[in-house]
């Protein structure tokens, strides 16, 4: 269970990779990954390709990220969730709130 962040394209894109189980124990780490990001009008990509499972507090953390993105004009993109994780996003109808790239 880790959160990694990577700056790409001359710091104009922020990628956040959540490895393993995405739950409340990552609350602080996940927040730390974007909270000091100063770029405006650029994408924040939440890469879920390595995420095995996600609970409702993870959905809550994504909503906090969305709130941050809305405030700073960052487009939030959720990338490559596995089947289990995508099912959770689907039940929560998150594709109606955020861009999800399968």
């Amino acid at each position: 269970m880790t959160v990694k962040k990577m700056l790409e394209n001359d710091d104009s894109k922020l990628s956040i990779v959540v490895d393993g189980k995405f739950d409340f124990s990552l609350y602080q780490n996940f927040r730390d990954a974007y909270i000091d990001f100063q770029g405006r009008n650029v994408d924040i990509v939440l890469d879920l390709s390595k995420t095995t499972y996600m609970d409702s507090s993870a959905l809550g953390m994504i909503l906090l990220l969305k709130e941050y993105g809305d405030k700073n004009s960052n487009r939030i993109v959720i990338k490559s969730p596995n089947e289990t994780v995508n099912k959770i996003l689907e039940i929560a109808q998150f594709h109606r709130l955020l861009t999800i790239e399968i």
Binding site: G60, L63, L64, K66, I91, A92, Q93
Partner: protein, 578 residues
């Protein structure tokens, strides 16, 4: 005073050593550190004194007669309650790895190897005391948290869910992962006899997830009781939770109205796993998937939000579940999942107890694995929800003690109140709660107004549907027809830009009661109430008719009911005794 105070504040140390000299030296050093000291001469003696005095620190020699230090340590650690940590330090001459390992394995919290200086000894005691202080601080915080959670749990089950309606008929399962569950189950009776049920899952578990439960329950009950539609209730709850909760706290929930007399359910799933309609043979008739993000995520419901209308048979059951069931895991990290769940429900229907069967199935699948999420299930039968309201007792002259006819004629009402809805407002405003609020405001909130509310609701809906919208009841002849009727009604409401419904109330007080006259006019082409409802279809196994039941009910509740002007005006009089 100070002396006693110091005595009470002093920590108590137990020194265990068969050598009196050694014991004295250690006791002396501990006294210098502010401890009170008692001593024991062997392991057994130590254990007995430990039990008797409950010291804050134990210093333990290893080789002693009767019982050695390791055995005594094990006995002490087994005995001590885990609310307080009493650190136990071994004092030994043996500076070997095995002595060190054996000490820790016996439950020791540290080891001091002779020879050591007085300074080292005192430093060791200080460090071990620091850990013990942290431990008790942690314990205290944990206890406070437990107490808070217990209060919240009591509030939830005792205050919120104990007020649920129809629990003798609605089956529920609720197993919390933490002491306090983030899942909430609510049920309440609508004025027309339908029942509203909610299964909700707040983000996370424990106390944190409970913040929204109270306002949710209040709003759900109050609005259901006042006759608001399901969508109106959901809209209000969404706004309320959005404003109340931080961004990462929300409510995944399924809302359902079960209407026995319409043989339909109205349902919206916002963020929960599929809800089910099962037939009595155990076939899955419908699955209602989530069609909206959880409640409290967006500031207003998404614009295309729709409550689904599903035709049901009276022997069908509606099953709602939270994700805790399908995501329950066993030792092999497999999920319980939907297939097992569906099989368990089918078996449960066969055996006549869905809840018990599903719970037993989940438990046998998990085989004692610790439950990670709250588990919640609601099982609602589709029949038997009609006419649960108390019909007003018959009121006549003898009850009121006066001649009604003579008092009624020619006297003006003491108050009258009018509400006109035109065009679009007919599609967006539900006038019944507004009218009822008006009556409550003037005449007070009384139980018997429920009957009046039923009269108002039935008459208004008739005027709107058959008058303004020109819908024919023929559509409702078949059970499937009800959802078609509802769809047609919805589409006509959407393009409505003219027409009106006018509601007038006139109030006449009587010595020991009162009379309320309701006059409703509409802009439609009129309808023949007799013609409209003459084809009432008697259903087999039921004394109910699919439509026209509303008018029958009004006739029972009202003192008089008359249609004028080809059905464009209806006048009902409602009488009550104090």
């Amino acid at each position: 005073m100070t002396a006693v105070g110091t005595m009470l504040d002093n920590k108590l140390a137990l020194v265990v050593d068969d050598s009196i000299t050694q014991s004295r030296v250690l006791s002396h050093l501990l006294t210098e550190e502010g401890y009170q000291v008692i001593s024991a001469v062997n392991g057994l003696d130590a254990f007995e004194k430990y039990v008797k005095y409950q010291p804050d620190l134990v210093l333990m020699d290893i080789n002693m007669p009767v019982m050695n230090g390791y055995d005594a340590a094990r006995k002490i650690k087994n005995h001590s309650n885990h609310d307080a940590l009493c650190p136990l330090v071994f004092i030994t001459n043996e500076s070997t790895d095995s002595a060190y390992i054996k000490s820790i394995e016996a439950g020791g919290d540290g080891i001091l190897v002779r020879p050591f200086s007085h300074q080292v000894f005192k430093a060791k005691i200080k460090s071990i005391q620091r850990i013990s202080d942290l431990y008790s601080q942690l314990k205290r915080l944990q206890q406070e948290q437990d107490t808070d959670a217990k209060i919240a749990e009591k509030l939830m089950s005792g205050v919120i869910e104990a007020r649920n309606f129809g629990l003798d008929r609605i089956g529920t399962v609720k197993k919390a992962a933490a002491l306090f569950s983030g899942d909430i189950q609510l049920s309440a009776l609508c004025p027309n006899g339908d029942v509203n049920v909610l299964l909700g899952d707040f983000t996370g578990h424990g106390l944190r997830s409970s913040i929204g439960a109270l306002p949710l329950a209040e709003t759900f009950r109050a609005m259901t009781g006042k006759g608001f539609s399901l969508l109106e209730i959901i809209t209000q709850i969404n706004t309320q939770l959005f404003n109340l909760l931080p961004a990462d706290l929300f409510l995944a929930a399924t809302f359902v109205t079960v209407s026995s007399h319409e043989e339909s359910i109205y349902i919206l799933n916002a963020g929960l796993p599929d809800a089910y309609v099962f037939s009595e043979e155990g076939a899955i008739k419908h699955k209602i998937a989530s069609s909206h993000p959880p409640i409290g995520v967006v500031s207003t419901l998404l614009s295309d939000t729709q409550v689904s209308v599903v035709s049901v048979h009276s022997s069908d059951r509606v099953i709602l579940l939270s994700d805790g069931i399908v995501e329950a895991r066993n030792k092999l990290d497999q999920m319980y999942d939907y297939q097992r769940f569906e099989r368990a429900v089918i078996k449960g229907i066969d055996r006549g107890d869905v809840c018990r069967n599903v719970l037993a199935s989940v438990e046998s699948f998990c085989q004692g694995m610790e439950q990670e999420d709250d588990i919640s299930l609601v099982d609602i039968p589709c029949d038997g929800w009609q006419q649960n309201y108390a019909l007003a007792s018959q009121v006549d002259d003898s009850v009121l003690g006066e001649n009604l006819t003579s008092i009624y004629r020619g006297l003006p009402p003491v108050w009258e109140w009018r509400l006109s809805l035109t065009g679009k407002s007919l599609a967006t405003v539900n006038p019944i709660p507004i009218v009822m609020n008006q009556i409550y405001a003037i005449e007070g909130d009384k139980e018997h107004w429920l009957s009046l509310q039923t009269i108002l609701t039935e008459l208004f809906v008739n005027s709107l549907d058959h008058g303004v919208l020109g819908l024919s009841s023929d559509l409702k002849v078949s059970p499937e027809g009800f959802s078609e009727y509802y769809r047609e009604r919805k589409s006509r409401l959407k393009c409505l830009d003219s027409g009106f419904v006018d509601i007038l109330l006139e109030y006449y007080p009587l010595t020991s009661g009162g009379r309320l006259k309701v006059i409703i006019k509409d802009s439609g082409n009129g309808f023949d109430v007799v013609e409209l409802f003459k084809n009432n279809v008697e259903l087999p196994d039921s004394d109910m008719t699919l439509y026209g039941r509303g008018i029958e009910l009004v006739e029972q509740l009202a003192e008089s009911l008359e249609y004028f002007d080809d059905g464009r005006t209806v006048e009902a009089s409602y009488l009550w005794a104090k």
